[in-house]
Symmetry: C2
Subunit: 400 residues, 2 copies
DNA sequence: CTATTAAGTCAATTCGCTTGACTTAATTAG
DNA sequence: CTAATTAAGTCAAGCGAATTGACTTAATAG
């Protein structure tokens, strides 16, 4: 009947959806709790022992799960714990960051198996894609040399690059306008034959913290990422939240006061770009990372000056994040050297009062996440892993 | 094995979950699209015609759905459209707001069937609960007089009251500290025999906009509610987001600048409380609502002064919301008279630049939602309806 | 008048979870 | 040492909701 406007509806589900969900639930349970017996899994998931047995047998057949030695403990028959098989699945993560690209292969539990990096032309995406495809081929070859069946176990390619996406007029060459226009996902899908997904760098950071870091098993966490720009990755209800158009958390352009057009965007004050400007450094300079690390360790006064100002804005950002999202924890991550990130973290204390300032907290209001420069690429790789193996609503439905 | 720490895992699902989901999908499809034939539903949900037929027959048996006359259109056999039966389910909504309580009964499509209101003692919840129970009994009786089987079709009681909940030290009598401490949900559940859910007033507002208002069928929307305080209701991925502890969106206490403890909370500047203070009015005064409406219509200079200042803060709030959530639209709602809300809306334009300022928008960046004073109670009632009938992840799982 | 298109039903099948009895193997009580 | 108890896990039958594919019905197009 409705032949004019398309009918709006969610898709239904069937036993395939049920089964897919239950498999994912098992995998998540093993990821979060380590090895578990079938009986444990049955209790935890509220499925019957028999259903769990069937699913575990299935997962074992797929090489995703393996039995450990039986354990005698208390009365009753000894139980056989099962754990995830790290080499049961792999994903490739790609970070594109202005002058640099990094590629990693991670396994099912988020461990890095192979990595590669190269420079990248800021303004020539098509040449850049060739470089990227070369790196991908290289790590793929490395992977194949280490594990048989690796190609069959490769679940996808995750891409992280600075957002926001789809801006009307990227006013700044550091926003990589040429890359923003370029049909990157399509080109990479064609060039690699893999499923390709795209997210911004803060989202990747949050995904990384969730698979292997401070947000492991936390359902409500916000990851504040201070890179060349600044953005937040949002874990809400246990899933990454991307907003209506994929730009949720892109707070770099948030204005810092109600007073209108004259006020400053956050990233002009609290980002590494602002630090470079403050110090008069060229962001493309070689050895910059080490230099910053040394300056931070030495508590260089000019660096400390920036830290103080940036921390004031970040402290307030945390206050807003807590007020708006009511998360269990906020995680500060950065592409800066750890020493600098620690200075920032310290300078952010004491935190502003907020609803998060409650007595019975289990997690700290603010904690330091990873400062590993490869974290974004790992998070990029974690996204296809999560898409393939984590329980989520969309996995139950019939179509995307 | 794990007898010390509980095992963290999502619950599994089975055919019951499948069936429950598919029923909900049908109901949502009919809610969003109006009457649809079985064939339409099958296409939209990607289920087979046969599955849809079975489910529809089932829903018809439950009195949730009814067939309309067959329609001839184009080739092929005429189709029989089905629509929701409004009187197929009811829910009661309760708004508790400082000196006043409102109770409504709404039906499956969100229409108000009965309503009642009464004054409420600010500091004596147990006496207040008796008043509330009286109102609930009254509307329940009214409902029973209008529809047979109404008790069986009553799916729950939704409560909305001002948040945030669980503050360390509610410093202000308008935060209703006595009510915050009181075991309200338990008392109401015991007194009514219904399932009781609690949310804050902005969340209720968003829920109302979603079931019958501007957010109908929109998956990413933020509802900015200017009441006695100010807060935001968040619809993310098509569901209300409440945060880790139920306080997401409680932006009233958000500080307005990075500069620390000295800066002002938003609700001191953009809330009806601030307006009353600005005008030297007593918020408990009788006829206040009408008075404000008249002042707004007359564009009273003192009101306009407050409007200008508040609009500046609200404009910036919208900017932040857009930057952080990347929603499809922002909805301004208020418990103030519509004339005043319109003044605010006008004064908020032009909006600040943000990522939402994109060319291909389908919804306005900012729109006016309902200013019906009963909207919060309707939203409160919509929550149990949504919980019972909308497709959602948790409805598929075996346990809550 | 016939072919085509589409809605909807019928009956058999499929597939994953459930049920309840059973087996195995440990610990605890007497 | 034996018997009772507790618990893990299997076996085999059953269930239930969606699927499959053929079929019926009823409209329009040519």
């Amino acid at each position: 009947m409705h032949d004019i406007s398309p009918i709006r509806a969610k898709s239904g589900t069937n036993q395939e959806g049920t089964s897919a969900h239950n498999r994912r639930v098992m995998i998540e349970a093993l990821r979060l709790n380590g090895a578990l017996s079938r009986a444990d899994l049955a209790r935890a998931t509220q499925l019957t022992k028999q259903a769990v047995s069937n699913i575990i047998e299935d997962l074992e057949g797929d090489g995703l799960v393996v039995a450990l030695n039986a354990v005698r403990k208390g009365r009753g028959q000894p139980f056989t714990p099962y754990r995830l098989v790290p080499e049961g699945a792999f994903a490739i993560g790609l970070q594109i960051d202005r002058h640099l690209t990094r590629v990693v292969v991670v396994d099912l539990v988020g461990k890095v198996i192979a990595r590669a990096e190269a420079g990248l032309p800021l303004d020539e995406p098509s040449a850049g894609v060739d470089i990227i495809l070369g790196l991908v081929d290289r790590v793929r070859g490395e992977l194949a040399g280490m594990f048989s069946q690796s190609e069959r176990r490769l679940v996808g390619l995750g891409v992280a690059m600075p957002g926001p996406f789809g801006l009307k007029n990227p006013d700044n060459k550091w926003m990589m306008p040429a890359w923003q226009q370029f049909p990157l996902v399509e080109a990479l899908a064609a060039g690699t034959g893999l499923n390709v997904g795209l997210q911004n760098d803060a989202a990747a950071c949050a995904t990384a913290e969730r698979i292997v870091g401070a947000a492991h098993g936390v359902d409500h966490a916000v990851c504040l990422y201070v890179g060349y720009g600044i953005a937040a990755g949002l874990i809400l209800n246990g899933e990454l939240y991307s907003g209506g158009h994929g730009n949720a958390g892109e707070v770099g352009m948030a204005l810092l006061s109600p007073s209108g057009p004259g006020s400053t965007p956050l990233e002009h004050r609290a980002s590494l770009a602002s630090l470079y400007q403050h110090l008069g450094l060229d962001p493309t300079e070689r050895g910059l990372y080490e230099k910053l690390g040394a300056l931070a360790l030495a508590q260089d006064p000019r660096v400390m000056g920036w830290v103080g100002k940036a921390a004031s804005d970040l402290r307030w950002s945390v206050h807003l994040i807590e007020t708006i999202f009511d998360p269990q924890t906020v995680i500060l991550t950065s592409s800066a050297p750890e020493a600098l990130a620690r200075l920032l973290l310290q300078a952010m204390h004491p935190l502003l009062p907020s609803i998060a300032d409650r007595p019975a907290r289990r997690l700290p209001r603010l904690q330091l996440g990873t400062t590993d420069p490869w974290a974004i690429a790992v998070g990029a790789a974690a996204e296809p892993i999560s898409r393939a193996f984590d329980p989520r609503f969309s996995a139950i439905l019939k179509a995307g």
